[in-house]
Amino acid sequence: MSALLATHGLAAFYGDFQALFGIDFAIHAGEAVGIIGANGAGKSTFLKTVTGLLPAAPERIVFDGRPIGGLPAAAIVRRGIAMVPEGRRLFPSLSVEENLLIGGYAKRAGPWTPARVYELFPALRELRALPGNALSGGQQQMVAIGRALLANPRLLICDEISLGLSPLVVQGLYQTLPAMMREGLTVIIVEQDVGLAQRTTSRLYCFQEGRVSLQGASSELTRTAISAAYFGSTAA
Amino acid sequence: MAASVERATRASRIAGAVSVVTVLTLGTLPAWADSSTLRLFVEFACLLALAQMWNLLAGYGGLVSVGQQGYLGIGGYALVVLADLGGLDPFACVPIAGLVAALVAVPVSKLVFRLHGGYFAIGTWVVAESFRLIVSNATIVGGGTGTSLTSMREFPKAMRESLTFWIALVVAVGAVAGVYWLLRSRHGLALTAIRDGERAAASQGVNIAATKFWVYLVAAFGCGIVGALYFLMNLRVSPDAAFGVSWTAFVIFIVVIGGIGTIEGPIIGTLLFFVLRETLADFGTWYLIVLGLVAVVVMVRFPRGLWGYVAARFDLHLFPVRRRLADRRT
């Protein structure tokens, strides 16, 4: 079975500074794959190239059999990739409901509607008229996830959704993941919390200084192996 | 292995020598050049000094003002008031006019600094227009039609022209040297830091508000002096000539095409402006249309202007402001 999203030797630059060195990554339809790594390891950069916020060579990123590297972000959303960005990034000028609605701007067909999002996150129903940034962190995260779902993507990327949230709230959020994936959603999960990433995904990639330092089945990777890959072992 | 911070480049040393020779030669102009040439140089000096002031504000301070003509006009009218009505020596009034403009800039800054970016630009324009309208209604200085600088009549023509010329030379050199000195100093570093990133600069202890305030005052002072100088030569002042926005239009053209954020840029820009003006003078409105279009194209394709492009391409700096770490191994 060919991959839904695959990158081959992907490189990325901020001006003259190279942030990614030849990343090989693959995710298949229906999978939940995790990406872990320290700050500055290249996780965000990788996501930016996949979602079109950073330029990349066209053939280096292939989605659904077609090259998408270098396409503008808006075009990539229309192809079927949506991201829940790090830090939520809700629109303060829009209400909660409007934030959700704007997720559907690309008008892609699919199972997700505002009503279904409210089913998934019932707490949002009474908050719908409030401005986007008047909510607690956990509630904002729900809106951000709902917004991304309303783009009816084939691939959903969750960038550090646990950031700044209490463990209980994070648990609640991740418990909705199976419900999302039942609709045929493929998910990439980027997390700082290694245990969380291991528990919620079937395969894991570890980034370190712009390279993939470790990959494998989430349940089989040992703590020592992950530590070494995470921080970059200096031992020979 | 010693590392030191140095600034001068070989090109800058050569440019420095050439500048000194040029200025000394220019100083002799009144002895052998005719009236119209002297007048042309005074105009050149005025625009060059204005361009340096505007560049200091916008290119380094991040303050895009479309209202500097307000201070130019204040300088011109201060000259008329102090010399004609106050009986002071008109030549001595030039620096005083600058001070008057700077004084006016103090309360004005409190107002206009409440605006930012494009709205700041238009706000300064409103202030300049307010000055123009107030002066237009002041009959004591001739109202809308303006008045003549009568106190200059006491001086013989040759002396008038020579003194005005030398003041213009001092103003031109002073503007360039003054801005250069300012940018090489600690304050210059602060300005560049603010330009590159305000929040980061503030976190390093740069007092943003104070720095912008002082830059605004210095620019007002400079524009006031230019106003007095221009009307010292022109001998007739009117609200439209003194407070007209075309001053800013020309200066913007000069700085944009010459190169914003450099000291060489305004010099190149002013030279180019005068070359264009003299060659296209017969074409009236087409000349202005070309000027406007060139400014648009340059801003879109070469945002750093002619000099910026050359400087980046050939790493050429005649008035080096940056400091380089020089590795001296003997």
Binding site: T51, L53, A73, A74, A75, V77, R78, A82, M83, P85, R89, F91, P92, S93, L94, L101, I102, Y105, A106, R147, A151 | A58, G62, V64, V66, L111, V112, R114, L115, G117, G118, Y119, A121, I122, G123, W125, V126, V127, E129, S130, L133, I134, S136, N137, A249, I252, V256, T285, W286, L288, I289, L291, G292, L293, V294, A295, V296, M299, V300, P303
Partner: protein, 289 residues
Amino acid sequence: MIGWIDTVLQGVMLGGLYALFAMGLALMFGVMRLVNIAHGDFIVLAAFLAIGVALGVQITPALIVLVVLPVMLAVGYGLQRGVLNRTLGKDILPPLLVTFGLSIVIQNVLLEAFSADSRSLSAGGIETQSLRIAGDLAVGWLPLLTLVAALALASGLEWLFGRTRLGRAFRATSDDPEAAALQGIDHRHVYALATAIAFGVVTVAGLFLAMRTTVAPSDGPAYLLYAFEAVIIGGLGSFWGTLVGGLVLGVAQGIGFRFDPGWGILVGHLVFLAVLLVRPQGLFPRTRD
């Protein structure tokens, strides 16, 4: 006493025109933080396009709109997409300087095409007709229509921004262009649409201007200043605020003119500066930053 009421009334009518001037400026700033220095000149351009059409063909202003409007909408879209989009970024200078250059170009092109004479657009008679209100008080039909148009546009724009998909896209892009791109919003197209709509408003403003008074090629900058003052007095972030700002400015100028014809515009400037001093956020700000 009646004289004062009349002055205020005429000021409000004038303010309707200023509100029309201001709304296009507010729109462009609201969506992309772009201040179009040539804004007033585009109003004058629209006015002269209408005048030009009228010189060639004898048709009513309503039909002239149908000719000039599509042209201006296209000009706005093309200008933003082709030129202004390239200038937007972290630096505030390029858009200001490019639009300043455009201002010079437009003024002088109009000068070449139409000479420096002031011209006007015939509205078929309503320029001189007025509606009696009470006793000696009357308002001209044209100024009244202008005010009605301003009201209609203010509510139309509020509806557009507040209740439509495009309006949501405008607000989202204005908040965070990158996050907006992640929702599938192409900012290049959205910005161009905003400018096109702004130019539509500019066209209406230019038409009413030409019918109400004479227009000369170099009048643009003055109208930019009035538009700007109206926006600041009214407060950023609300088209109703901009409308009120225009009315306040119109009344201020009217009162000034009543004292002395030379003081009219100056009083407007002074009221603006006073608002800036005392209540810099404007009278009805909708805080968003």
